[in-house]
């Protein structure tokens, strides 16, 4: 049988450098192939070369791409006609891949109007049916909604719906769920693979996440620096990787560490009592603004040296709770106690003691470091307070801290000259240089590649063991939690729905939401 897509010795050049070299693979009709690799491995460039949409600066440099046996030359008219009905593509960023100025109905119809002879009402019916299929409630009226009225997961469904409307023979999904939380990720991936199967569409899945491969791909191809490392049927490839690099990727999947004895009955370090955080919803002109309860009457206690994972989907209030516990967002009711003393309403110098003992690591290392400061200034800055430490001592400690997080000798760099993982290490160094007693890690590894994530997690764990700070680890990913947490607290709709020791929660979840999260978590196969 003719393969839907055959890529033969494809090379892609960026100037003099080759970002993809001699890559060959084929996808049979209805088959799902996963291209796996870390950032910069050339997997996205390959996908874009297939559909002929290479970004400026990249160009095909030898090799052939054949779609159903016919060669696709870059920029040919054949290729343009194939886009849509032949090859569909779903992009990573649902926030930007829909045009915010147009209603979603109009955007979905575009492809049908271009490639089919359906009447106006026929197109509308097709859109409604497809929206219904991807799980959008009340599709007929939602056709008139704008993209900003939908959440990220919903937008990705709409994107998928508009691509699948044309029943393409090949669907390219470029990191389709990387920007989504675990639950939504599982739902969207189930939809993609379900729709592909229904329509007999072949799937080219681009991902850095081996967990996805295990669940959704028939074949897998591991890439590193533009070259193929290993290829073959997905399940055996993951179970018995032949190459060292594949093994490293498989090992980077989260794995449960040994349980530590529960924190002794020491005095709690930080205690939250019936805390609520509310925001006014934007009201209409003459209506009273409604109140949105991001965190609703939550109580939580953390003991010294304990690592507590706060888990929940987006919008569950977990990030808000983490920030409220550091007094970074104001709480509207309840108490916050630190070492037995109330700090809920402290301000000015009285708050400083609390600030000195608590730190935060943010999700996005691109925006949490001041781009105008050198790395060593960033790490030395916390040592300004409490006042009195001489300048050279501050820098000596900052350099020592950088050494500890594996960035020795990089102190003179600016953040933009570091990789994502290195930046997150800087953020960790900044948070730990003052030896805090309590650290909030807000999705601290969610933005990182799998192997980098593993390294950064290991660093965090090692530092936690050595310094013994208590940690609130905020995350949507139960897989990450397994590695690091002593206790797990699950949040939904601003309330805590379940909490308990890690193994108890993971092995015998009591609440439906926890079970759903667990089912969606992509963990090491077979463990």
């Amino acid at each position: 049988m003719t393969p839907v897509l055959e890529v033969h010795r494809l090379s892609i050049a960026a100037g003099a450098r080759r970002v993809v070299q001699d890559l060959s693979f084929r996808i049979a009709p209805g088959e799902a192939l996963a291209l796996v690799g870390e950032s910069g491995s050339g997997k996205s460039a390959t996908a874009r070369a297939v559909i002929g949409l290479l970004p400026p600066g990249l160009a095909r440099d030898g090799g052939a791409i054949r779609f159903e046996g016919a060669a696709l030359a870059p920029g040919s008219a054949v290729l343009r006609r194939l886009r849509g009905p032949g090859i569909g593509m779903v992009f990573q960023e649902p926030m930007t891949s829909l045009n915010p100025a147009h209603r979603i109905g109009a955007q979905m119809e575009e492809g049908l109007a271009l490639h089919t002879s359906l009447s106006r009402s026929g197109r509308r019916d097709a859109c409604i049916a497809m929206l219904e299929r991807v799980g959008i409630a009340d599709p007929a009226s939602r056709l008139n909604a704008f993209p900003h009225e939908f959440s990220g997961g919903m937008r990705q469904r709409i994107m998928l719906a508009s691509v699948m409307l044309l029943r393409p023979r090949l669907l390219i999904a470029d990191e389709p769920t990387t920007a989504l939380d675990t639950l939504t990720q599982a739902e969207v991936m189930d939809l993609i693979s379900g729709l592909a199967r229904e329509h007999g569409t072949a799937l080219l899945l681009i991902t850095h996440d081996l967990g996805l491969v295990a669940r959704y791909a028939d074949q897998a191809l591991v890439m590193q620096e533009g070259r193929m490392v290993e290829a073959g049927p997905a399940a055996p490839l993951l179970d018995t990787p032949r190459e060292a690099y594949t093994r490293a990727l498989v090992d980077a999947l989260p794995r449960r560490g040994p349980a530590r004895p529960a924190a002794a009955a020491s005095a709690p370090l930080i205690e939250v009592r019936s805390l609520s955080v509310t925001y006014p919803k934007r009201g209409a002109l003459f209506r009273r603004a409604e109140i949105f309860r991001a965190v609703d009457d939550v109580s939580l206690t953390i003991h010294p040296g304990e690592v507590v994972a706060l888990v929940g989907g987006s919008g569950s209030g977990k990030t808000t709770l983490g920030r409220a516990m550091l007094r970074l967002v104001p709480s509207s009711a309840g108490q916050l106690l630190f070492r037995g003393q109330e700090v809920t309403h402290r301000s000015g110098p009285a708050l400083l003691d609390f600030r000195l003992a608590c730190q935060i690591i943010f999700q996005d290392p691109y925006s949490s470091l001041d781009p105008r400061m050198r790395v060593r200034d960033i790490v030395a800055e916390p040592l300004r307070l409490p006042a009195g430490l001489p300048m050279d001592e501050r820098y000596r400690r900052a350099e020592a801290m950088l050494e500890e997080v594996g960035l020795g000798g990089l102190g003179a760099r600016f953040p933009h000259a570091l990789s994502g993982g290195q930046r997150q290490r800087v953020a960790i160094a900044r948070a730990l240089v003052r030896n805090p007693a309590f650290v909030v890690a807000d999705e601290a590894v969610s933005a990182l590649d799998a192997t980098v994530r593993k390294q950064v997690l290991a660093l965090l764990r090692e530092q936690q063991r050595r310094r013994g700070f208590a940690c609130l680890f905020v995350t949507h990913d139960l897989g990450v939690v397994e590695e690091i947490a002593d206790r797990i607290v699950v949040m939904q709709h601003g309330c805590i729905v379940e909490s308990g020791p890690r193994d108890a929660v993971l092995d015998a979840p009591a609440h439906d939401y926890t079970r759903a999260l667990l089912a969606a978590a992509l963990r090491r196969p077979g463990v």
Binding site: L326, R355, F362, L369, F414, H416, R430
Partner: protein, 269 residues
């Protein structure tokens, strides 16, 4: 560091203007305000390099003297507009709430006036004087600085490194100065260079209306203004200050572009 053409050309042009002004501080060929009615409107010669004006004053000397006055007035005005505008913009953008609303309302009202009209009104009250011009033009141009600064502060204050600074226990004032202010540098530099140009032009416009630096002191603006009746007979009278103004503006703009690039750590590294 790569040698940028902007930096080189801008630096050369502005360097020339500053050299002229510096020389004028210690030496000019003639006394720039000495009137010699017997030698009116003399064409350029070895004695009078650029000729003389309608009162027989040496144009070259006045041009040099004018460089000092024009540069001082322009620089002082820009500094004043920047200090005022940045204070308003930072306060409004960072504190938000009522402070921002009140400052914003006043600012928008001032912005609604053409700058030159505002300066005219102020000067009518203050009377023409060098520092009056600085004050009037400074106040007139501060609102646009405030607008630009407020806009960038509003976007920067939401970035996580600002929140990180708060989490470190840094005071609001320190956070503002250390983490927010430096990021306004790029837009403010660009604005400041164009302001410099506008001020030199505005000063000549005010001089033209008799509200500029009062005579007999020379500025490029009032030289240009008083040369107008003689444009046909002695074109050099208006060309000379015009060329100086153009040189100065071009130099400032090119240097401003180069500065903005240099100030960005992404390029500087």
């Amino acid at each position: 560091m790569r040698l940028r053409p902007n930096l080189l050309i801008g630096g050369t042009l502005l360097g020339f203007v500053f050299a002229v002004a510096a020389t004028a501080l210690v030496w000019t060929p003639y006394d720039p305000v000495r009137i010699n009615l017997r030698r009116r409107l003399v064409p350029p010669s070895a004695d009078y390099w650029l000729g003389t004006d309608e009162f027989g004053r040496d144009v070259a000397s006045r041009l040099m003297e004018g460089a000092v006055t024009s540069l001082t007035v322009a620089a002082a005005t820009v500094v004043m507009a920047l200090v005022l505008g940045m204070a308003i913009g930072l306060a409004g953008g960072f504190l938000r709430g009522w402070t921002d609303r009140i400052l914003g309302a006043v600012n928008d009202t001032l912005l609604a006036f053409p700058g030159i009209l505002l300066a005219l009104g102020l000067l009518a009250v203050l009377g023409p004087s060098r520092w009056g011009i600085v004050l009037a033009l400074g106040l007139a141009y501060a609102p646009s600085v405030a607008r630009v600064v407020r806009g960038s502060v509003l976007s920067i204050r939401e970035r996580e490194f600002v929140e990180a600074s708060r989490a470190l226990g840094n005071s609001e004032g320190y956070t503002l100065l250390r983490h927010v202010l430096p990021h306004t540098a790029a837009p403010v530099t660009v604005l400041a260079t164009s302001l410099f140009g506008w001020v030199i032009l505005a000063e000549s416009a005010l001089s033209f209306l008799g509200l500029g630096v009062p005579p007999p002191a020379a500025t490029w603006g009032n030289m240009l203004a008083s040369a107008r009746p003689f444009m046909g007979d002695a074109p050099l009278l208006s060309i000379a200050p015009g060329v100086m103004i153009a040189t100065c503006l071009l130099g400032v703009n090119l240097l401003g572009d180069a500065l903005r690039d240099l100030l960005d750590p992404r390029d500087g590294a």
